[in-house]
Symmetry: C2
């Protein structure tokens, strides 16, 4: 999807919060923010919001001289998730449908996102896990995904945030024993997205082959990804993509992708007819069908709007 | 006071909301916003937030080709205030201290500010008037102002927002009969600040001589004001300045000014040790004293920080 003008002040605030979290020299932060504003003033709005985020956070990292401003919150998120593991596993394996329950906790873990809200909010996070088993999701698509995994025995899993990774592992553990899983993280630190180190700390190496996509953009910007990742992506019979940035970058992908996420941003939510707080289990196939229907109904001018 | 980096994303959002309120062509708005971002990227942060607001809103007005984007909300604010006049007058004149009560409603009217929140919020506005008589304010300063007016018989009254103007009139009506009042509005449309027309529609010509300050900045940026205004300002024995933008531009004035406002912005509030929602009745003399004390205590590096 393209970047909306409403995304701009939000990204600028994000950049400022990221800089402040690791730097207390206002002159340095001011220099960084002036570069961020200049960058935003020439940004091509036909690119996706994650691509704007990538540019802004790269300027911040460079100017405050910190390669990974979200390092601490990523570590805290993983520790938090590991302390929850036992309790969540119990719920998953005591449920009638461990695959469906684990998928729900994998989406619950998507709350560990510090782009929009940069500080830890116990209440907000607890609520996400408390509601995991009751949140409405499209159960038919959950079933379709389960069957696709059973049939192919091979899954490419595009990760989102650190910490959420632990719940992704619990989800993968419910796949049939002989399933080949490739778990894909970012090629470099970007916001609190999972990196190779995060995936390892979350125990993903016990259930999957971990690779990175070669890019340091949030989501999956295919034009920036490594050849190695793209060959995995093109040949994968089943692709799961977690989180809103993957939704924003892969929503118009021609390949069938299962998008699993919490809708967090009002701009994206409103554009797609969702509400902030909704949980989505959706395929790109279904999104394409909805786009065609909306175009026929004249709700949207052109496909690239979406 | 200087502009904080936190002001920047807020002003950019304000600019976008102002543009959207009068223009539905996204390409025009995008062009305006790109200019706004470029302007912000080179803005001198030692200038005050109202000066940044002035630049941003001037770009918006030019690009969307609308001289007064807040025209409608200014008219609605005045109509709303006029419908409340009778009820408020009753409370004022039934109170033990009409001057103090009218001052309180003049501050209550300061809620009619659409810079930070661009849409009308009935609940927020009603609450401001409901709490008018109970909000804590510095009663000693209220008394000091009343005595200063009685002694001098001459007041320069720097207005803030359209609509609030009606309550300012009710306040002025409680001054001693022979008081000379000069009511000062902005030299051109800026956000929903009162202009000559707003003051006339609010009946200020019955109680004061209305002049403008020659500038289209929010607040009172003395370096931009007309000679005529400055001669009034310099010779005025009593100056009342309404609203947060006047606080931000006159807080370090060497002249004694009575600042009457609701604290609405978290950045300004935190910097001065207030909370959002606080009502202030404060003189620049007191602010200067607090600055000196804070400097002695080492709370702030230099006076210009304030």
């Amino acid at each position: 999807m393209k970047t909306y003008l409403d995304c701009v002040p939000c990204f600028i605030r994000q950049g400022l919060e990221a800089a402040r979290s690791v730097c207390d020299d206002e002159a340095t932060i001011a220099r960084a923010m002036k570069r961020v504003l200049a960058e935003a003033s020439t940004f091509d709005l036909s690119l996706s919001p994650p691509e704007m985020g990538q540019k802004i956070h790269s300027i911040i990292r460079e100017e405050v001289n910190n390669k990974d401003p979200y390092r601490q919150i990523k570590d805290s998120s993983i520790s938090f998730a590991l302390t929850m593991e036992k309790r969540v596993k119990k719920i998953i394996y005591e449920s009638d449908n461990p695959f469906g329950a684990a998928l729900r906790f994998s989406i619950a873990g998507n709350i560990l996102d510090f782009a929009l809200l940069s500080t830890w909010d116990d209440e907000r996070i607890d609520e996400s896990f408390k509601n995991a088993m009751d949140k409405p999701v499209d159960e038919l698509v959950v079933k379709e995904l389960e069957e696709d995994i059973q049939k192919s025995g091979n899954v490419l899993f595009l990760a989102d945030n650190a910490g959420e990774t632990v719940f992704d592992r619990l989800f993968i553990e419910t796949f049939p024993k002989n399933t080949t899983v490739t778990y894909v993280v970012k090629g470099g630190p970007i916001i609190n997205d999972a990196t190779l180190e995060c995936a390892r700390k979350s125990g993903l190496n016990d259930v999957a082959t971990i690779i990175d996509n070669g890019a340091d953009a949030p989501g999956t910007v295919l034009t920036q990804c490594s050849k190695d990742f793209l060959s995995h992506y093109e040949s994968a019979p089943v692709v799961i993509a977690k989180g809103q940035a993957n939704f924003e970058t892969l929503n118009v992908a021609t390949k069938k992708i299962y998008l699993l996420l919490q809708m967090k941003c009002i701009v994206v939510a409103q554009h797609y007819g969702y509400s902030v707080g909704d949980w989505l289990v959706k395929t790109t196939d279904k999104l394409a069908k909805e786009r065609r229907t909306n175009m026929l109904k004249g709700k949207t001018g052109k496909e690239t709007d979406l």
